[in-house]
Point group: C2
Amino acid sequence: PLATNMATYQLGDHTLSISMGMYADNRRRLVERVRKAGCPDTGVAVFMGGKSLSRHDSDHEPLFRQESYFHWVFGVSEPDCYGTVDIASGESILFVPRLPAEYAVWMGKIHSTDHFKAKYEVDRVCYVDELATVLRSMHGGKPELLIMNGLNTDSKMMSVPVEFEGMGDFAVNKDILFHEIVECRVHKSPAEVDVMRYTNKISSLAHKEVMRHIRPGLYEYQLESVFRHYCYYNGGMRFQAYTCICGSGDNGATLHYGHSAAPNDKQVKDGDMCLFDMGSEYHCYASDITCSFPANGKFTENQKIIYNAVLKSNRAVLAQIKPGVSYKDMHRLADRIHCEELKAAGLLQGDVDEMMKAFIGTIFMPHGLGHLIGLDTHDVGGYTKGVERTDEPGLRSLRLGRVLEEGMVLTIEPGIYFIPMQIENALNNPEQARFLVPERIAEFEGFGGVRIEDNVYVSSEGGELLTQVPRTVEEIEALMAEECQ
Amino acid sequence: PLATNMATYQLGDHTLSISMGMYADNRRRLVERVRKAGCPDTGVAVFMGGKSLSRHDSDHEPLFRQESYFHWVFGVSEPDCYGTVDIASGESILFVPRLPAEYAVWMGKIHSTDHFKAKYEVDRVCYVDELATVLRSMHGGKPELLIMNGLNTDSKMMSVPVEFEGMGDFAVNKDILFHEIVECRVHKSPAEVDVMRYTNKISSLAHKEVMRHIRPGLYEYQLESVFRHYCYYNGGMRFQAYTCICGSGDNGATLHYGHSAAPNDKQVKDGDMCLFDMGSEYHCYASDITCSFPANGKFTENQKIIYNAVLKSNRAVLAQIKPGVSYKDMHRLADRIHCEELKAAGLLQGDVDEMMKAFIGTIFMPHGLGHLIGLDTHDVGGYTKGVERTDEPGLRSLRLGRVLEEGMVLTIEPGIYFIPMQIENALNNPEQARFLVPERIAEFEGFGGVRIEDNVYVSSEGGELLTQVPRTVEEIEALMAEECQ
Ligand SMILES: [Mn+2]
Ligand SMILES: [Mn+2]
C-alpha cells in the first residue's frame, strides 16, 4: 500500500504547504534504518501521541501541541492518537479516538476514519480502542512491539512509555526503536529542510519588524507581542518554539530571560543593548534566532566592540561548517576568537593559548555554541552512542557534541555577556584573574550581553544559512532607521 | 504581623496596578470563614503552588501559569512554591525553592527571602526544604494541616493533593478548607472586581479592533492574532483565558471551535456571520467575551433576526440580575425568549409553553446560559452543597446552578446556533418536530450561530455590565465602518 502524496498541511493560502509525503518519507527512512538495525521479522513500531491536558483540576485545556516523535512519524494535529508502523511491510496505521456524539456540538465535525486516511495519507485508520485487536491480527497474532525507551540528552528525561489497554499480551522490544528514530530526526530530509527554511524566513521577517518598531520607552513584552503577532498573522505560526527572550540592558546577561519569574517586564531605555532571542514554529518545526542591537538604533563604540567580536566568531564558525567537523572544536574556536577580540579591545591581557587553558572564554560565554534544531528547539541526538559530554567549563553546557553530518540543522549562537557572578568568580580565582583587566571590564557593568544566533543546514557542500536578518552594524543601523510596516 | 500594602503587580506603567493588599485581604477572608467553619485551634492551611512542567521528555518548558487557588491566596508568579496560613494567628508564610547558583546565569537574579517578603507582603518567607521544620515549630509541634480535597464541578476532577517531604508526620484535615476557599473565590472582593473590570476593558477594546480589522478574504486565525496582540501589547495580558474561538460561517455552530483539531483555519467569506469568543487574562484573572457580527460589516435580514433574538434574551437576563435570582430560571428565561423570537420569525410554530416542555430552546442553545468567572474562565463554585445539576436538556449543561449572591461575577451568554446534528435529531423526534418549520429553518443552513456573551458583576443593586463592546446592530455596523487603528 502506498500513500498518494496529495494531501498537505497549510494554514491559509499565504503560508507554506507541507506535503504529507514528507511524513511518508520519514516512515520509509525509519523502516529502512530499523531493518538494518536487526529488527525481528515480526517487529511493529508502536507510537503514542500526545494526550489532551487540563490545567490542574480545572477544565482549562491548554492548546494542544503534538508530541514531537509522533509528529515526525505521522504529522497528525489531533490529540489522543496512537500509530503503528509494521517494519516488514512498511504498513502504517493511525488510531484515532472514538468521539462521543456530543463532540459534534461542542468541538466540531466527527470525521470518519476515511477522512483521516485521506488527510494524513496513512495506509489504514482505526480507532484507538481497536489497537490491541489490530495488533493481534498481525504476524500470526505474535507481533513484537518496538517501543520508545531512551534518554533525552538535554532534559535528561526518559521517553514517555507507550501504554494501552491489552499491551501486556504482547512481546515488547525496547532496544531498537529509540536510537534509530533519533538518528532519523537528526538527519533532516530535503522536505524537512524546506520547512525550516520557511520557519526561519518568517521569524527573520518578524525580528526585522521588531527592530523597526522598537524605541526607548516601550516595554520588552510589547516587542515580544509584535514578534508573536507578525509570525502568526503572516506565517500561520500559532506557537512559539520557546518562550520569547527580550532582554534589554542588563537583562541581556540572563541567558534564558523571559520566563514567569523574569517576564520581559523592563522598560527599554535609551542606550540599552537589546538581546532578543525569539523563534516561532510551523507545524511543530522550530526556529531559534537571536538578534542583538542597540535600543536607539545607533551602536556606541563599546557596543560595536562586543557586537563585532561575537559576529566574528559566528561567521568564522559558519565558514567552517561541513560534514566531518567536530562541534566541540567549533565551540573552542568561538571561545578563542572572543579571547582574541576582548584582548584587542583591552578587556583581557596575556597569551590567548594560556587563556584557553584557563577557560577565560567561558567567563563571557557560559553556554554552549549551539544545538541541533528540528521538531524541538533543542532537538534530539546532540550526543549519541560513543559521544560523551566533555566535562570542562563551557563544553559541559554544549548540547551538540558530535561530528557534523549532512542533513543536520543546528544553531550557531556565540555570545559575550557581562554576568556579574561570572566576572566576580573569575576575579576571585587567581588562575583566571590575571587575564582580566578589571577597570576596562568595569566599563561594561550593566551592559548585558550580545548573542548572534543563526540556524544552519549542514549540506554536503557546507553550511547553508537559513536565518536572514541584518547582521553587520551598518545593516542593523540602516534597518532600524526604517519606518515600521 | 500585618502586611504593609505597598507592593503591587503591574506589567508596564500603562497597565493595571494590583495591590498585594488584595491577596492579604483574600487570606483574611479565608481565615475568617475557616474559623467560622469550626477549624481546630491548631489548624494551618497548606497550599502547593503550580510546578514547572516540561513538554513530554523534552526540555521545552511551556510558559508557567500559576495554579489558581495558590494564586488567589498568595498572588505569586514563580513556580514550585508552597504556602501556609495559620488560622489562629492569620500568619502567612511563603516557601520558595532554594535555587542553585547556576540559576543566576541562566534564569536571572537569585532573590533573597527578604525580596519575596517585600514583593508579596506575606508575613514570612522560607525555603521549600524548610516546610516540615517550620510546620513542626507551630502549635507545639502538633499543627493540624488543612488541605484541599474537593471536586471541581466543571472538570469533574478532584483538587491536586498537596505533597511534601515529611508530610506523613502531621495530622491532616481534608474536610474544611476546600469548601471555604471555593466560597471565597465565588464572592469577589471589590479589588478583585476592579481587576475584572480591567480585563474586560482591554478585551473589549481588542474585540473592537478585530471588528475594525476584519474583511472577507482574511483567515480566522489572523483575527485571533490581532486580538492576542492587542491585549498583550496594550494591556500586558500575556495569556489568553482560553483558546480563541474565531468561527466564521458554519464554524459559528461549533461551540468550542478553535482548538488543535479545528484551529481557526477557515477563510472568512463575504456573507459569513462571525462568532468570536475571546478573552485574555491579567495576573490570572480572566475575561470571556463573545461578539457576533457579519464579516462584511452589514447585517442581512436573516442575520438581524437571529442576532436581535439573542440580544433580547441577553438584555432580558441582564435586567434581572441581582442577589436572590436563580440562574436556572435565567437559563429558562433565555430559552423562552428564543422560542418566542424564532416563532415570530417563522422558524418555529405552536405554543411557547408547550415548546418549553419539549425543550425546543435547547435545540438551538445546547449549552448553559453562563458560568461564574474569576481566576478560571469556568470558575469554581457553580454548584455547592445542596445545589445539584438539573438533569434535563439544556440545564444539564449549565455550569452555574445557584441562586445569585452579591460578589459573584458571571457570564451571560445566550446563543442561537444552527447545528446540523441538533436540527436533524429534532426533526426525527415527533415531540419536537411539530414545532419546527423545516423550510424556514432550511434558509439558515450554513448560517453558523450567534452568541452574545457579557461578563457581569452581581452587586447588591443589580448587575454591573463589565463588558464594553458595541451590541446593537446599529452600533456594530457603525464601528465596523471605522478604519482600524
Ligand atoms: Mn538556541
Ligand atoms: Mn463563556
